[in-house]
């Protein structure tokens, strides 16, 4: 480690703010490390380590909110950040939204996410060797024309302090490996991007059969090249448990973020207590669920609670920061998050998933008779316009279902729905809950990307709009 031992007196920043007359001040210190290795068609394209550290300061001055961030961690740099945040809060004047933060108990805690073997102690050559072995295993599959194998590891250490007296020191390690395969058969191309990640250490890598993983996914993309497009239209579908969380994240997750609701930008605004989905649908945001991203506290030091946004089809809660909880008269849920010390707080999801029920996946498909079995492996993501209520997401290679059986592989599709309509058409929810996260990406909002997780059991939805791709 080549960083100077951080002699950062975060209390100095709080004290400086109070001396300068703020009503409230909090500080987010972050010390971040990311290791990226990428083997691209047999060449180590990237071997990069990223080190980042700095502070973000937020102040409230007569109800007006100002932020500043810097990676100059000298006393002068930190003081200038506080002064800058105060000046900006005052600049807002009568144009600024008057805000306050919900009163809550003071929290002081120190948490390190579980890991067995520290990846920072594993020799780089061992990691590179794994990626090259994977490359060889995947490239051996006939029809693969390009293969990228990325490895990612991050250590994200954050300390939160506030003039309320909070002190939360949290470190999370995440690790993962992916496959980005391109197949070419008779002049036609198809691509598949998939990855496996965990909140863990090197033991996560050791416990997984990566050679089988790359071979299976390489075969899948070769099969997908030959597969046909689905005819565009409306279909009954069964979503597998790698994609159902993506749908929920887009269909309800963003629209339930209270900063969007408070702005007047969500179709869910003013609908708490209304039926917004089938009674089979319960949607949860939880920072501690197995398999997901680990978020025990949010970035304003509030414990992340298991939150039902939809319970038995009824909209039951929004996701909150302390400011939105106060503004909308609700309880805090621990969903105020930042991408890094540089950013301002937004209300963000953690792990979004559907509560399981009692159907077996095979039973659900058999009972559907005809439609599509939508698979998540290779899905690119999703997007929503929470104001219009339109949402969309893509799938990986999927199957046409005839006579209750998945009979034919088809290329990945784009699915489109309307927030207040689509989930009313859920008529079966499986029992097979799976939640996943990724060290390679996350959720984007207002220019900030944060790690999230999502999942659920298999779910059946009637009459979904499908674009054929």
């Amino acid at each position: 480690m080549f960083l100077l031992e951080p002699m950062i007196d975060l209390d100095y920043i709080v004290k400086t703010g109070l001396e300068l007359g703020v009503d409230f001040i909090d500080v987010r210190y972050q010390d971040y490390y990311y290791e990226s290795l990428v083997v691209d068609n047999g060449v180590l394209r990237e071997a990069t380590a990223t080190y980042s550290s700095g502070i973000g300061v937020r102040v409230l001055v007569k109800g007006l909110m100002g932020y500043a961030s810097t990676n100059d961690l000298s006393r002068r740099g930190m003081r200038e950040a506080v002064e800058s945040a105060i000046k900006l809060a005052r600049v807002l004047g009568h144009h600024g939204m008057e805000q306050g933060l919900l009163e809550r108990p003071v929290y002081r805690d120190r948490i390190v996410s579980h890991y067995g073997l520290n990846p920072e102690n594993v020799d780089l050559s061992e990691k590179v060797e794994l990626l090259f072995d994977m490359y060889k295993a995947g490239r051996g599959v006939q029809g693969i024309s390009s293969l990228i194998i990325p490895y990612g590891y991050e250590r994200d250490h954050r300390i939160y302090v506030s003039s309320r007296g909070d002190y939360i020191d949290f470190t999370r390690r995440m690790i993962g490996v992916g496959v980005r395969a391109v197949a070419s058969v008779e002049g036609r191309y198809e691509m598949l991007w998939t990855s496996e990640s965990g909140v863990a250490g090197w033991e996560f890598i050791k416990s997984f059969n990566w050679l089988n993983y790359v071979a299976e996914n390489s075969k899948l993309v070769v099969d997908a090249v030959r597969a046909e497009h689905v005819k565009p239209g409306r279909y009954d579908i069964v979503l597998d448990n790698e994609i159902v969380g993506l749908m929920l994240h887009e269909a309800f997750g963003h629209a339930s973020e209270a900063d969007i609701v408070e702005a007047g930008g969500s179709v869910l605004g003013g609908r708490i207590g209304e039926t917004v989905a089938s009674p089979l649908v319960s949607i949860i945001d939880d920072g501690r669920v197995e398999g997901g991203v680990y978020v025990p506290y949010d970035d304003e030091g509030t414990p992340k609670l298991k939150t039902y946004t939809v319970r038995n089809g009824v909209l039951s809660s929004f996701l909150h920061s302390l400011a939105t909880a106060r503004g909308l008269g609700a309880s805090p849920t621990g969903n105020a998050r930042v991408m890094s010390f540089r950013n301002t707080l937004l209300v963000r999801q953690t792990n979004t998933y559907m509560e399981p029920r009692d159907w077996e996946p095979e039973e659900m498909i058999r009972d559907m008779g005809r439609g599509l079995y939508i698979r998540g492996k290779g899905a690119m993501g999703g997007e929503v316009n929470p104001l219009t209520g339109a949402f969309t997401f893509t799938s990986g290679p999927s199957y046409i279902v005839e006579n209750g059986e998945p009979i034919k592989l088809v290329k990945g599709v784009m699915l489109s729905g309307i927030i207040l309509e689509t989930l009313k058409n859920v008529d079966a929810v499986g029992k097979d809950l799976v939640v996943k996260t990724s060290v390679f990406g996350g959720c984007g909002k207002s220019g900030q990307m944060v790690r999230v997780g999502d999942g659920g059991p298999h779910v059946r939805v009637r009459g979904f709009t499908i674009g054929g791709g």
Binding site: M1, F2, L3, L4, V43, L44, E46, A47, T48, A49, T50, Y51, G54, M65, G66, Y67, A68, S69, T70, N71, A81, A85, L88, V91, L92, H95, G96, M97, Q99, L124, V128, F132, S184, E190, M191, P232, G233, R234, I260, A263, G264, G265, R342, G382, E383, N385, T388, A390, F391, T392, T394, M414, S416, I418, S446, G447, T465, G467, G468, G469
Partner: protein, 447 residues
């Protein structure tokens, strides 16, 4: 500091060293429900350090000032020595100047006060609202948005004589307006991203968005089928940059991830299609005199009357293809290896505009805004997007507003036999330029 890192790198046994630094100073405002929710300022220095020993390479990114330079370079040396050789590695580039240069710095941004920036935002919000109110809506609210503006100082040094530096400005503004009338609510967003601050341009964008904001009340699905598609310039630009920009990358061509592999000099689109990569347009987001390797940039034709003329190169890919770099080497982060990317990618205008296409077409789907378009596939040209703001029109008359339908197709088919018209109404924004496009035979999934 940067020179010192170079010197330490050599002393510690690296055969080549490159340093890239970017200092940014950004002022931001966030909008919520007609009010400015918060203001923020970020001052950050990023340093990227890349090194090589023979054909072994590696890099580190330092978004911290809290470092011991000797140990940082030792870390880099460890990474480099543990890496296998890249058989194609040509070294870092020599000094390559080009005769041309561009303007990427706008004093109106460097000199703006916090108060003046806030006033610009408030004026734009008011213009957006008042234009919608002229359409007799009951309520017009800017529900969300942001203004970001500031400076970026970039410097690139290596041991082959490259030492380039530039200071560029940027401004981005995004605002979403919700308009409520007795028949229902509608909305429209505006987004600009440039290197220059032109208030009259910004207010014109706000006026246009305000005028359009009432068009999408009670939007819904249309029947599934095959439609003529008319893309407004912004929507067309997003599809082109998503699907074509990666396909132009020489690295993707070399590594068989582009359908343009082996297509140089061949017809890949209609003769109506000409595309340039132009870093020299003043004050656009991709305007740069040097790329991230310190190589001089220049304007180049990528597609000329439908013929694919040349891929975009970094020094690495140019070396592999025995040609010269086009000055298109850009990085994901300061310590990352450069890869070919676009500067300002511009589809050249031809004739007509959005309104003339709407009037000429029979039955057509007009698309103003989309979601999910970025999940289109540059490897095979497949376009996928969900329409969030569209109109079904017939002979110039609006039949119904549309949302939630999925449009799919292949960009190369759209720009060949499917192409009915390339407009003359070029709009450049966010480093992408396109006029309106009129395309026959597009699959639409709806009811």
């Amino acid at each position: 500091m940067l020179e010192k890192l170079l010197e330490i790198g050599i002393r510690k046994g690296l055969s080549e060293v490159e340093v890239y630094s970017i200092e940014s100073n950004i002022l931001s405002f966030t909008v919520s429900n007609n009010m400015v929710k918060e203001a923020s300022r970020s001052r950050i220095t990023n340093i990227g350090l890349r090194g090589a020993v023979g054909r072994k390479t590696g890099g580190i990114t330092l978004t911290t000032l809290n470092i011991e330079p000797e140990k940082a370079v030792s870390e880099l040396v460890g990474i480099v020595n543990s890496s296998p050789e890249d058989p194609y590695w040509p070294g870092f580039p020599p000094l390559i100047r080009r005769a041309s240069s561009t303007t990427c710095l706008d004093r109106r941004i460097t000199d703006i006060s916090d108060e003046e920036a806030l006033k610009l935002l408030l004026n734009t919000m008011e213009t957006l609202r008042s234009k919608a109110m002229e359409k007799h809506v009951e309520k017009a609210i800017v529900v969300e948005g942001s203004l970001n503006l500031g400076t970026q100082k970039i410097r690139v040094l290596n041991l082959h004589g490259v030492d380039t530096s530039s200071e560029c400005t940027f401004i981005s503004m995004w605002l979403t307006l919700s308009a409520e009338s007795p028949s229902g609510s509608s909305d429209k967003s505006m987004f600009i991203a440039k290197r220059g601050l032109d208030e009259s341009y910004i207010l014109k964008q706000a006026e246009e968005a305000g005028e359009l904001a009432t068009l999408f009340t009670n939007a819904g699905l249309v029947e599934s089928g095959v439609y003529d598609l008319i893309l407004a310039p912004e929507a067309a630009g997003l599809i082109i940059s998503t699907v074509l920009a990666p396909a132009f990358s020489a690295l993707n061509i070399l590594e068989s991830r582009s359908p343009l592999k082996d297509k140089t000099g061949k017809q890949v689109a209609s003769q109506q299609v000409s595309i340039i990569d132009d870093p020299l347009v003043p004050l656009e987001l991709g305007s740069r005199s040097f790329d991230d390797e310190g190589v001089g940039t220049y304007s180049k034709i990528v597609v000329d009357k439908g013929v694919f003329k040349q891929p975009l190169h970094s020094y690495y890919t140019a070396s592999r293809m025995s040609t010269e770099t086009t000055g298109n080497g850009f990085r994901r982060s300061p310590g990352s290896p450069v890869q070919p990317g676009v500067t300002n990618l511009i589809l050249q205008p031809v004739r007509g505009d959005l309104n003339s296409f709407i009037n000429e077409a029979g039955r057509a789907l007009v698309v103003y805004e989309m979601i999910g378009y970025w999940m289109s596939n540059p490897v095979n040209g497949v376009v996928k997007a969900t329409v969030s703001h569209g109109l079904l029109v017939e002979k110039g008359r609006v039949i119904q507003p549309v949302k939630g339908v999925v449009i799919t197709g292949n960009i190369y088919e759209w720009l060949n036999n499917g192409l009915a018209g390339v407009g003359g109404d070029l709009a450049v924004n966010n480093g992408v330029g396109s006029p309106s496009l009129w395309i026959h035979g597009v699959n639409v999934a709806g009811k």
